[in-house]
């Protein structure tokens, strides 16, 4: 079973990811599956009945609005980073958490690197599917590169100026 970082620990990944496809009516296999957004939109009726089994992944150009309030009903949303320099997913994550009421597992997939974990966490991600070459045990340490931040964030809704003594 492949491994990832979830809630600050190494965990097994029980989900399979359905690759992007132009065919939105493609068959969704049994088990826990993360489907592309177009598949979700096309097959929402049936997929909703598999409540705990279906997650959705957004590509970096699919903004949080496109999933909207469906987010609050999903157990998992993954956000793809085509490369680690593409930072759109940071905004997507915050909006899912702060505006669309998403409370499930928020997973960063694709090109993210260890050195982004702390920022990703602050934006609301709680699981990280890093490249196989990365030493996960060492990478976990980077979740806490910073233990204090100036801004409001998902993990600390009050900016520092409202907390400063």
């Amino acid at each position: 079973m492949p491994k990832l970082i979830k809630d600050s620990a190494i965990a097994e990944d029980n989900w399979q990811l359905l690759a992007a496809s132009d065919d939105a009516s493609t068959e969704v296999p049994a088990g826990q599956v993360i489907v592309p957004l177009n598949v979700w939109h096309a097959q929402k009726e049936t997929l909703s009945q598999r409540a705990d089994e279906i997650g959705v992944w957004l590509d970096s150009d699919q903004l949080a609005d496109e999933i909207g309030d469906d987010a609050s009903k999903l157990p998992l949303i993954a956000v793809n980073f085509p490369g680690f320099m593409d930072g759109r997913g940071f905004s997507t994550a915050r909006l899912l958490r702060e505006r669309h009421g998403f409370t499930g597992e928020l997973r960063a997939i694709g090109g993210v690197i260890r050195d982004q974990l702390c920022y990703l966490k602050r934006c609301g991600f709680n699981s990280f599917d890093l490249d196989d070459s990365i030493d996960l045990a060492a990478a976990i340490e980077s979740l806490n590169d910073f233990t204090e931040g100036y801004q409001a964030s998902v993990d600390q809704p009050l900016p520092l100026f409202r907390r400063r003594a």
């Binding site: 320099m85 930072g87 940071f90 050195d115 910073f146 801004q151 900016p159």
Partner: protein, 554 residues
């Protein structure tokens, strides 16, 4: 000046530790080159033509004498004994050893300095008016807001991987000395009719390949909404800015593509949803920030008496008179003046300063100006609060330190990027051009007669030398592997900002001093009634200059 508390120290300390770990992993081969690249850039570290270059932030241009001494120490111990003031008020070291950079950052953290986000596709150091807090035409001191923005932008978790770099400038005066029209976001602090403080917000200005002036998207943003509104702008940009082409990735391209009105509407929509959130500034926070920029402990002085004493000294001492005329500026406190130390003597790269000069300036600051200085985007250093009665003594000391060249605001006080001698992006060298022009115009009386003149030189399209907003702008270009220089006329960085127009075909390096001389000859021949160069240009246009410069020799 702002002073760190335990939180600031902790955050900067954690950043240094993080970068130390990243550098070690890189040197051990555990972090790939392409992954280390943006991480080191976000800590100010470039790899240049000859060696790395480390850019240290000078938040909105303010430095204490203690910080100057630390910079001198770093220059001496980790570099070749000098550093460079950039056109964005920052300090650059040209020869650090990559493995030692974490140590340098740790040294700097001791004096509350850092290199966070001084490069890379993130929010850069906020710049401001070098005469903030002392200018006569100031409405509101912009520095407390700059500090609030510094904290908000530092390690902002959502905006560390933007489509492209992002620069914010803030001014609080009637005359714009912070070039807010050519920044990604330009802010003008002002008061409305009810006396409340707010911001005029400009967005989408910039130089580089596609120079453009910013558009006003909000005429009056109440101060408590500052950060929520900035969050909204940068969020819209992060989501919608182009990422497919680095030359089209700046916010100015997005604003242009959407149209300023539609962009403003999008920002407004986002802002309305953030406005009531916890990022709304509290009056306590604004007051806290403001308390760090109190009026210094000024003496009550007789301005008229001081002026008449200066007059006497000037009469006896023409060299002092020249310096007074060019390098000293009026101040809002009676009996005080602001003094520019020129880092543009001929023969030294513009903006370069040695370790011992840094220490000498620290001493001058302690003795004459409450221990503080300001860096300027014209690459000089300002002592902000000098008693007029001490100007003569200061002048003598500045002369022996080598920074009393009385050329502030003149043709030889030129802005110049490091160019091809250092920068790996350059198309052409810029420093030798600067020097050849300074040598051509070495006669001070002649120089004064020419008056205020901004000549700006960039070694490539990236426009670090702000050539588009020079009255005379010079741009290094590459033609089949050879270095040439394109000339632009009519740019201006101030309140009535304008972008220069290209004069015509480019010139070789050896022609440049003569070309500038011809431009000046046209101006001198055509000027009327005390016109400055830019005024004459605006009146007569490009044609007469073009004719003269490209006239065939008989």
């Amino acid at each position: 000046m702002y002073q760190y508390d335990e939180y600031d120290h902790k955050i900067i300390g954690e950043r240094v530790a993080q970068f130390r770990g990243q550098t070690e992993r890189y040197l051990a081969g555990e972090l790939k080159e392409e992954e280390f690249l943006p991480l080191r850039l976000q800590n100010g570290l470039y790899v240049q033509r000859l060696a790395p270059m480390l850019r240290i932030n000078v938040p909105y241009g303010m430095l204490s004498s203690k910080q100057l001494r630390k910079l001198a120490y770093v220059a001496r111990h980790y570099d070749k004994g000098y550093c460079h003031i950039s056109t964005r008020q920052n300090i650059q070291f040209n020869w650090p050893d990559l493995a030692e950079v974490p140590d340098i950052l740790s040294e700097l953290a001791e004096v509350e300095m850092h290199a966070t986000q001084s490069s890379g596709n993130c929010i850069r150091n906020t710049t401001s008016d070098q005469f903030a807090g002392i200018a006569k035409d100031e409405v509101v001191d912009p520095r407390p807001y700059c500090e609030i923005i510094r904290q908000w932008s530092s390690f902002h978790p959502e905006f560390a991987f933007l489509p492209r770099k992002f620069k914010i400038a803030v001014t609080g005066a009637a005359e714009d000395r912070a070039a807010i029209q050519v920044h990604d976001i330009g802010l003008q602090v002002l008061r409305n009719d009810a006396g409340e403080v707010g911001f005029k917000v400009l967005v989408g200005g910039g130089l580089g390949r596609t120079p453009i002036l910013g558009s006003v998207i909000n005429e009056f943003l109440p101060e408590e909404n500052l950060l929520s509104y900035l969050d909204a702008i940068v969020r819209v940009y992060n989501q919608l800015g182009r990422r497919d082409n680095k030359y089209k990735a700046r916010i100015k391209i997005l604003v242009k593509a959407m149209g300023p009105e539609q962009f403003a509407a999008k920002v407004e929509e986002e802002f309305q949803r953030l406005k009531e959130g916890p990022t709304a500034l509290t009056s306590e926070e604004i007051q806290r920030a403001t308390r760090f920029f109190p009026q210094p402990d000024y003496a009550q002085l007789d301005d008229t008496a001081a002026d008449s004493d200066l007059q006497k000294l000037s009469d006896d001492n023409p060299a002092f008179a020249k310096w007074l005329q060019r390098n000293v500026r009026e101040h809002r406190q009676p009996g005080y003046a602001a003094v520019s130390l020129s880092l543009k003597p001929t023969g030294v790269a513009p903006g370069d300063i040695t370790d011992s000069q840094l220490e000498a300036i620290a001493e001058l600051a302690d003795k004459f100006s409450f221990g503080e200085v300001r860096t300027t985007h014209e690459q000089n250093i300002v002592l902000g609060d000098v008693r007029k009665e001490q100007l003569f003594e200061l002048w003598q000391a500045a002369r022996s330190g080598g920074f009393a060249t009385p050329n502030i605001g003149t043709l030889t006080d030129l802005i110049c990027c490091p160019g091809g001698d250092f920068c790996s992006l350059a198309n052409a060298k810029s420093l030798p051009i600067a020097e050849s022009i300074q040598r051509q115009f070495d006669d001070l009386d002649y120089l004064y007669d020419l008056g205020d003149l901004d000549l700006n030189i960039s070694g490539c399209m990236n426009a670090c030398g702000h050539h588009h907003v020079g009255h005379i702008g010079i741009l290094g270009v590459d033609k089949k592997g050879e270095e040439f220089y394109q000339v632009q006329l009519g740019g201006n960085a101030g309140t009535d900002a304008s972008l220069g127009k290209v004069l015509g075909p480019a010139f070789g390096a050896e022609e440049m001093a003569a070309v500038v001389q011809k431009l000046i000859d046209v101006y001198v021949g055509q000027r009327v009634d005390g016109e400055q160069f830019i005024d004459t240009y605006r009146r007569i246009g490009l044609a007469p200059f073009k004719e003269k410069v490209y006239a065939k020799a008989d």
